[in-house]
Amino acid sequence: MARKIFMVLFLSLFLIVNMMPVVWAAPNIVELIKPISDIKTVNKNIIISGWADAETKLEIRTFSREVQNINGSDVYSWEEYQQPGQDQSIVIGPTGFFAKEIELKYGANKIVIKAVNAEGQEQTIDGIVTLSSKDEVREAVKNLLNTNFLDIIRKIIK
């Protein structure tokens, strides 16, 4: 009997602990039309757009990856850059829609979206968008076409 009670208690505790992350997770305030993580593009301008409740305040910040050589090693850092003439913050209107055009810098760009709704709840979304030049992409495709896939598969099988 004691064993049964112990099993029931253990299972209940297990279930509760598994549900906790869902409760502790940040509220879903913003729904993006397209994700902003791990995007690779040749278009210098991209659109960040999505939906949120009216009166939600959004701040969209952009960072580019800079590299500095310190004592012979490459040190990477994120440097914030402003879109020219644009206010970074947006207040969502009654349609619940927002859209902002972002001009990217070549290389990796980190986009951070911070949303605060009318109830004061916050959500932060970030992602990396890499801008390559059309020449780089052409080179990569050319290298891909030159690769002998059969040789690669043989190496894997060995």
Partner: protein, 468 residues
């Protein structure tokens, strides 16, 4: 001696008086009253030959660089050269098609195929109205004696220049899209498009590309292209004044004399609200205190009840505008309507004018264009005009309202939305509106013009407030 002195003083006084009166005469009485200007007498209007291509112009030109990357060109200072050069290339192609249509194969295509073609390197030219082929032939001057192209009117032209060159012409009247394959490559226009792309111009997007298509408030068609980089526009807020100085009786008299052959039989009536009416019993001219002019011929008659050639009618209208107030800067033909007055067929021509390449909406009078000319039987029978002059402008140090924020302004007014389903937005673009609050000087502000199926909205693009 004393008598002599008195005589001298009187003589000097008379000479001074005559000098004073002469100055009064030459400075205060306009020169037009003394020397008749032949342009101010109807019937002797100078018959100028107007280049219709200066007035029948695209509302804008969309340049597609390939994929969802495009820009829009207006007749403003920043893109004027590209607008001109690209339109010239498209005009040359259209003229080639008109001159060689017997050797070219025309086919009809679907809107989906046209939308697909627009995703390649191409140029789209959109006119304000679907202009009759007859008028377009008068604009482009194809060789005489040629068989006409199988299009009754042209609203939109798309020229693709990527792998294959083709011209698409949208006949909005019949709801048909014609396609004609073109020989050769168009190097010039390709280079122009590449040079424009290198300048990194403002990008324009469809609502689908932005992601707004699945909203509960509005339905927007694919053909509406909108910018999101609103800080790039630098549209100034301007000061505008009435074209006519309605308080100056002398100047109003001269203006009125351009409408009547014999001013000696014209009666002038001043209404309580300050409006002036001039009439000779056969026609009347009314000028309101806000500068709105209306001229009306009482009876329409003539020998022929057949409708005239549209090209000749546009020429006549332009002549009339030139000699009755003058041609405003950036004037363009907005719309042509067929009308019937007392059994006589005629045309109502609506003209508008622009500022910074953007159309003007005056005082939110959206159903009325800046200038309207009704022509019946080779004669102007009705003329309406309300034109303002820009005197100064200042640049605002803030970005324009985002297009979705402009739609938010309407969404905050549930009474203006459809109760059953989504409100269909038919058109949406930037323009200028004159806010006539004040005595003499008015503000001309950049606005978002939004047209739904049932209503039109003018939204201040800096303040985000509804103006109409």
């Amino acid at each position: 001696m004393n008598m002599e002195k008195i005589k001298n003083l009187v003589l000097i006084g008379l000479v001074m008086l005559s000098i004073a009166f002469s100055i009064q005469l030459w400075l205060d009485v306009p020169i037009e009253r003394i020397m008749a200007n032949p342009n101010y007498f109807p019937g002797q209007d100078s018959e100028k030959d107007y280049d219709l291509s200066n007035f029948v112009l695209p509302r804008w030109i969309v340049v597609n660089f390939g994929g969802p990357s495009r820009t829009k060109l207006y007749r403003d200072s920043s893109t004027y050269r590209f607008y001109n050069d690209i339109y010239k290339e498209v005009s040359d192609v259209l003229l080639y098609v008109m001159n060689n249509n017997q050797n070219l194969a025309f086919s009809q295509v679907t809107r989906e195929e046209l939308n697909e073609a627009k995703l390649s390197k191409s140029v789209e030219v959109e006119y304000d109205d679907s202009f009759e082929l007859q008028l377009m032939e008068k604009v482009f001057h194809p060789k005489a004696g040629q068989q006409s192209i199988p299009v009754s009117s042209i609203k939109n032209i798309t020229l693709t220049v990527s792998t294959e060159s083709a011209l698409y012409m949208e006949d909005a009247d019949k709801g048909v899209i014609h396609k004609v394959m073109l020989p050769g490559t168009y190097r010039e226009i390709n280079q122009l498009i590449d040079r424009l792309e290198e300048r990194d111009p403002v990008k324009y997007w469809t609502w689908e590309e932005i992601g707004f298509s699945n909203n509960e408030f509005f339905y927007l068609p694919l053909e509406i292209y909108l910018p999101l980089e609103m800080s790039s526009f630098n549209l100034p807020v301007a000061v505008a004044v009435k074209e006519l100085e309605t308080e100056d009786q002398g100047k109003m008299g001269i203006f009125a004399s351009s409408f009547f052959k014999d001013m000696s039989i014209v009666r002038k009536i001043t209404e309580i609200n300050g409006s002036l009416i001039y009439t000779d019993g056969q026609s009347a001219l009314k000028v309101d205190t806000d500068g709105f002019v209306e001229y009306l011929v009482y009876s329409i008659g003539g020998n022929s009840k057949e409708q005239e050639q549209i090209g000749d009618v546009v020429d006549l209208a332009l002549n009339y505008i030139d000699s009755h107030g003058g041609i405003p800067e950036q004037l363009y033909l907005d719309k042509i309507e067929n009308i019937t007055e007392n059994g006589y067929k005629g045309y109502l021509l609506k003209f508008n004018y622009g500022y910074n390449g953007l159309p003007f909406f005056s005082n939110g009078k959206l159903t009325q264009s800046a200038i309207e000319v009704t022509v019946v039987n080779g004669r102007v029978v009705n003329y309406k005009r309300l034109v303002y002059r820009i005197t100064k402008a200042r640049v605002e140090q803030k970005p324009l309202l985002f297009p979705n924020a402009a739609l938010d302004v309407i969404a905050r007014r549930p009474g203006d939305l459809e109760t059953d389903g989504r409100t269909v937005i038919v058109d949406m673009y930037l323009g200028y509106c004159i806010d006539i609050k004040g005595d003499k000087e008015y503000q001309a502000v950049p606005v978002w013009y939004i047209k739904s199926e049932n209503k039109e909205f003018i939204i201040d693009a800096y303040q985000g407030s509804l103006m109409n």
